[in-house]
Amino acid sequence: MSKITVPIGPQHPLLKEPLAFSLTLEGEHVIESAMRLGYVHRGLERLSQERTYVQNVHLFERVCGICSHIHSTTFCQGVEALSGLEVPPRGLYLRALLCELERIHSHLLWLGVQARNIGFDTIFMYAWRDREIILDIMEDLSGGRVSHAVNIIGGVRIDLTPEHRDVILGQLDTLETQIEALLGVVENESSFQGRTRNIGTLSLEQIRRYCVVGPVARASGLDMDLRRDMPYPPYDQLKFRVPVRYEGDAWARTLVRMLEMVESVHLCRQILTTLPDGPTSARAKRRVPPGEVVSRAEAPRGEVIYYIRSDGSDKPARVKVRTPTLTNLITLPDQLQNISMADVSVVISGVDLCIACADR
């Protein structure tokens, strides 16, 4: 049978961000694939060396357009550790509240994209409708729907009144009901399972070889979550479960993310009801003492890591950012091998791509 090469991207209706694939097909099946990144490479690591630490908080919030808050959190966490700055507990709790809201927001957005790619537009509509609840909560808290600019070095700039807290608790109840309804559909609906089961399967061995992180790894049985395994405050004070599945296919990835959303709603409620009193931030010095630090956190897509080196001035000497998408992308050639062309979209969106993150 003759081979044909099909280009997908950099601009393609399947991809929400620019990324280029070149798939070689034999009949209906993919036998080879190649990938090209770099279409949204903005040189943020270099740019950060020209900006002060305060400016960099806002710069790194723009690494990602979905999980923006976790990036500034990881950066601030690192700078605070370098400066020996103690963040007040209330500041840490509010930070974590935004992190968990963002996790739900990111997973709901992804569920919509995935449902759209498999042709299940009803889930897409409902998932994005429910995502509005989260965006409303975040807008009320910070003034921004996606870029919150909540983090400052030393804490957060927002605070919460008891009345506002009750409103959010009410909104979370509505959200939980909706997420559970969606979870029921994903678990039981045969057409959804037909398009996702045994597709893009990754074994635990492959996950370990490629150092994969986040829900993709947890759907293949790798029980790793930095919130629990390397608990950064305030997660050492909070109780939650880490959902793990062993199937390793696109369906398991969906389920893991759905169950994580349920856990995140519980976490938000826990944070709101146990929110400590006191100030929300500590005063930070403009200059950071010389030293280096590796800051890690669990983003919606998995482990995000920042390496920060300070030379004692008010600007970092080097900041290295590694986002979870870059790690998870490397599994795509394996996942695409020998699948039908019709399943390519399910596999590609199954790893939850964020190309702006991967390119930086």
Binding site: G38, Q77, D223, E292, V294, E303, R309
Partner: protein, 158 residues
């Protein structure tokens, strides 16, 4: 505890094993904030040390590789994780920016090595590079100042 690892070893155990395996090597160890330990090595020690970490201690999760132009050479940091951070630090002199690849041991290292190669001009011997990864296809060839964007001299006009 995480099922990522069957057992989490203390850093002291790992360090003792390293000293047994390489008795004539002087490792310098530095504790960093946020649960990370930096271990400074000679460039030719990286592969044997990583092999030992993987075989004896089941440490296989390479979070990333940082390349950093520190003025007297390019420093490479291999950030490993196994319940806490272990970072291998190597300084490569400017006149010999070469190091063997780890991709045959850890296939997941490919993207990180390609990034460092592209941005800082470190050659990873044995690494397959099917074209550029982040930089444009027509990025400046040769050894001009902007050839490697994260080098210190990258701003100088060549």
């Amino acid at each position: 505890m995480s099922r990522l690892l069957t057992q989490i070893y203390l850093f002291e155990e790992i360090f003792a094993a390293l000293q047994d395996a390489f008795p004539d090597e002087e490792f310098s160890v530095e504790d960093k904030p946020m649960d990370d330990t930096f271990l400074t090595l000679a460039p030719d020690r990286v592969r044997p040390v990583v092999e030992l970490l993987m075989e004896q201690f089941d440490i296989y999760h390479l979070s990333t590789i940082t390349g950093d132009d520190v003025g007297d050479g390019v420093r490479l940091l291999y950030h490993f994780w196994s319940g806490y951070g272990i970072t291998l630090s190597i300084l490569l002199p400017y006149d010999d920016l070469r190091i063997p690849t780890l991709t045959d041991l850890i296939p997941g290292a490919a993207f990180y090595e390609r990034e460092v190669q592209e941005m800082l001009g470190v050659t990873f011997e044995g690494l397959e590079t099917p074209g550029p990864m982040f930089l444009p296809d027509d990025w400046e060839e040769g050894d001009g100042p902007v050839r490697f964007p994260l080098r210190r001299n990258a701003d100088e006009k060549g």
